[in-house]
């Protein structure tokens, strides 16, 4: 579980995060949504420890990040997995090399143990024939799956995803969403996803945090988001005609 208490973050004169308080539950897919420039990425980078908030605290299962020593912070980082928007796979390494990388850096496993673990996670993300291919030789969807495999290879407690299905076709996007949800439940991970994709919101948003201008504008579940009367949320989530119609049908059905 990750608890965020009144965090503020500024860059020069720009006050990006203006006091966000929330919590993210273990074993659930938590989504952060909001318009571009609402502070989602800065918030996610604060959660990852890449940015240090000027005020407020972030605690990971009770451990307050700012109170940790450098060594403890390094240990905590090894409990985090991250899936970047562009996958961020290492170009110079094969798929297998990318997945084994954290194991080689941080564990004392034998080569065969590392191989077994890499094979296992690659199989878990349904990639069995791409071990020796390089990132440039595989599709965007496969790259995302490799990124997920690399993120979970160390059995992380916390999984962060920055727009995991951007640039993917709708079908592959659903596959990636479902994979993240399955992994979250299977390994009881605290998963936080930064997304613009309303399909993800509806499908896997067990908790949704809506940010606007660096503030928490709304939070709830994917079921609650249908019912909310919060105009800021509805203007953003139901900005397309399709979603407006879907919501209308939902409301009519309820009535």
């Amino acid at each position: 579980m990750i608890e965020v208490n009144d965090i503020h973050k500024s860059f020069d004169d720009a006050h990006i995060l203006k006091g966000i308080t929330t919590s993210f539950q273990k074993g659930k897919t938590n989504l952060i949504i909001g318009q571009s420039g609402s502070g989602k990425t800065v918030f996610l980078k604060c959660l990852l420890g890449l940015f240090t908030p000027e005020e407020g605290t972030i605690s990971y299962d009770g451990k307050i990040y700012n109170d940790l020593t450098d060594a403890e912070k390094r240990d905590l980082r090894q409990e985090m997995g991250m899936v970047f928007q562009g996958s961020a796979l290492f170009d110079s390494m094969s798929v297998e090399g990318n997945v084994k990388f954290p194991l080689e850096m941080f564990t004392k496993q034998s080569k065969s143990e590392m191989q077994d673990r890499a094979d296992f996670v690659l199989k878990r993300v349904n990639l069995v024939d791409a071990h020796h291919k390089f990132p440039s030789e595989i599709s965007g969807g496969m790259q995302k799956r490799v990124a997920i495999a690399r993120a979970i290879v160390m059995n992380p407690k916390y999984l962060f995803c920055d727009e995991p299905n951007s640039g993917l076709d709708p079908k592959t996007a659903i596959v990636i969403d479902n994979l993240i949800k399955e992994i979250t439940e299977e390994y009881d991970i605290t998963t936080i996803i930064n997304t613009h994709d309303m399909n993800s919101v509806m499908e896997i948003g067990e908790k949704i945090l809506f940010l606007k201008d660096g503030l928490k504008a709304w939070e709830g579940t994917n079921k609650e988001i249908f019912k909310t009367d919060n105009e800021t949320v509805t203007d953003f989530v139901y900005s397309s005609d399709l979603f407006k119609k879907v919501r209308q049908m939902y409301i009519e059905e309820r009535n």
């Binding site: 990852l48 980082r77 562009g86 961020a88 290492f90 941080f106």
Partner: protein
């Protein structure tokens, strides 16, 4: 880390040997021909052609001129490879994993560049060989004259001086482009700009440090 260092040695040193050998051979040849064509006074002995070729190549061409070329070849490779990693969030990925990205990316390059003096030694040898071939087969002087010139007033410290310079330039070649790649911001266009800036600054630092080192090591 060992495999990373070996990979960088292969990329930065062995990968540069072709261009170093090519340039050194022809510059050595041209220095010899130019010197021969300008020494028209019959009183001046022919062996001075070999002497000039040796001094030019060992003292300046191989350590300094080749390093400027390497600022373009190795420097732009380092900046663009690290810069591309920055743009594609690969450096952020290292940070998130808890890997010291600066150490992971730059340290192997610094260690690999410790082998740079070997490349410069090859440059000196090939340059002098190019001078000998151009001088002798071009009919400008005899092989004996060239060899006599090579041995004239030879001071081993000149080679030491050249290798001290080379080691300093190797450090500059590994670090200045790495800095520009690691701390760049923006996208693909900025990677190109960072490579150009890195080349300019690496060249400037090499030229200035060449002056300072020459004054310190050879000045009275």
């Amino acid at each position: 880390m060992k495999s990373l260092i070996l990979k960088e040695i292969d990329e930065l040193i062995f990968g540069s040997l072709g261009i170093i050998i090519f340039i050194s051979f022809f510059i050595g040849a041209v220095i010899t021909i130019q010197t021969a064509l300008n020494l028209t006074n019959p009183i001046i002995p022919k062996y001075l052609i070999g002497f000039t070729a040796r001094q030019s190549l060992i003292l300046e061409f191989s350590p300094t001129f080749v390093s400027i070329v390497m600022a373009g070849k190795v420097g732009s490779y380092i900046t663009s490879s690290i810069g591309s990693m920055r743009v594609t969030e690969q450096i952020d990925a290292l940070d998130v994993m808890g890997v010291n990205a600066l150490n992971y990316l730059v340290f192997p390059k610094i260690i690999a560049m410790l082998f740079y003096p070997f490349a410069i030694a090859i440059s000196m040898f090939v340059g002098i060989s190019g001078g000998w071939i151009a001088g002798v087969f071009g009919g400008f002087l005899t092989s004996a004259d060239f060899v006599e010139g090579l041995q004239l007033d030879f001071s081993p410290f000149q080679v030491t001086y050249a290798f001290i310079k080379t080691l300093v330039f190797a450090f500059v070649l590994a670090t200045v482009p790495s800095y520009h790649g690691f701390y760049m911001k923006g996208g693909a266009l900025e990677v190109g700009k960072a490579s150009t800036t890195a080349f300019v600054w690496t060249s400037v630092v090499i030229i200035v440090s060449n002056y300072i080192l020459t004054q310190l090591l050879l000045g009275q």
